[in-house]
Point group: C2
Chain length 216, copies 2
């Protein structure tokens, strides 16, 4: 049985939940609470699985995998049906570039550990932290909106008419943007694609509020 | 002819230079100067190729690719020989997880645009900025050192006895660490692998100081 070490609000874990659901893989969830007990991701047991103390970690057949994008590529290779990447290298590169524009250039800069550094080390207040958060959201989503609108292969989803790794990364990032009350009006294409994804049960079941460890 | 829009000091461009050299692909370089003229990455012409205004962009056969990791995967798929990823999905995941630990969790947090935000918006001084930089280097390289030492498949290189995407991401990050005088003594495995890579001409030729646009 596949096991996902995650947390309802972790957007990197959210990506993997979507992929597992789309691939129709049966999986069980193990919560690593990011704030309880000083952060369970720092426990000795979890650090053995994930030396970065980051979420998520995937267990499959006795193997442990870290880094959500590496996990998504693993799932794609080990469970090829339905595909989450197109066939042509040029198109695969396009899908990955959108996924990575989220996974490299928005998410890590706004991650919990960075926000902690901003308050604990740099003594930033809540307003400054929110300004930081929204700055990287708007820089990142603004660029992705352009990547989507300028390209003829954008369709119902980021790439054509089927879900890909790009959508799987985009939807959790939009969730985070909404959580921090970011203005989404400048991103109509992203909003349309996000809505299309969230109409699917595989995305709905992966949503933070629908996880067993969800909190208010 | 393959063209790489890069900058000698861009570590994401450095990754792609290494891969192009290892694949023995003939390529030409076009400099996008990151500081001259307010940053050439913000020019209208470049933004058309790369809406994120980030480096690098690869042109191949009339197609333009962004995001260095997506470019590396494209190069691997379009030019399979010699391979830069192992064959087994479990091993490919491991290599990608190391590459992504650099590309997601160290590099973007220390990138030029973030450092600019720290000085321009948050008015941090040079000491605070260097502390920030070194903090994310030591957090990131510390975890990667553990990922390497705890795994039996670590060899002469990050994964076994041939170069992979992991090494291609690691070496430019070590270059950045040295540039900011980070203490590398806690990372003997990383240092050993970095040295092994830099003994190869494909890495040497990709080094920042060996680029036509290199500056003091």
């Amino acid at each position: 049985m596949v096991k996902l070490f995650g947390y309802f609000r972790s957007s990197a874990a959210y990506r993997v939940r979507i992929a597992l659901n789309l691939k129709n893989i049966e999986w069980q969830s193990e919560t690593i609470h990011l704030t309880k007990n000083g952060g369970e991701q720092f426990s000795e047991a979890y650090q053995k699985l994930n030396p970065q103390s980051l979420l998520p970690t995937l267990e499959d057949d006795g193997n442990y995998f870290t880094q959500s994008l590496a996990i998504l590529e693993y799932i794609e290779e080990a469970y090829p049906d339905p595909p989450l990447l197109p066939t042509l290298p040029t198109q695969r590169a396009r899908v990955r570039s959108i996924a990575l524009a989220v996974a490299c250039d928005i998410h890590p800069i706004n991650n919990l550990r960075v926000l902690k550094y901003l308050s604990q080390e740099l003594k930033l207040d809540q307003v400054q932290k929110t300004t930081w958060y929204r700055h990287w959201i708007s820089t990142g989503l603004g660029a992705i909106e352009t990547m989507l609108t300028q390209h003829s292969e954008t369709g119902e989803f980021c790439h054509g008419s089927s879900v890909s790794l790009a959508d799987i990364c985009l939807v959790p990032q939009v969730f985070n943007a909404n959580r921090f009350d970011c203005d989404m009006s400048a991103y109509p294409t992203i909003t349309r694609i996000n809505d299309a994804c969230l109409s699917m049960k595989e995305f709905q079941q992966a949503m933070p509020e629908n996880q067993p460890d969800a909190e208010e």
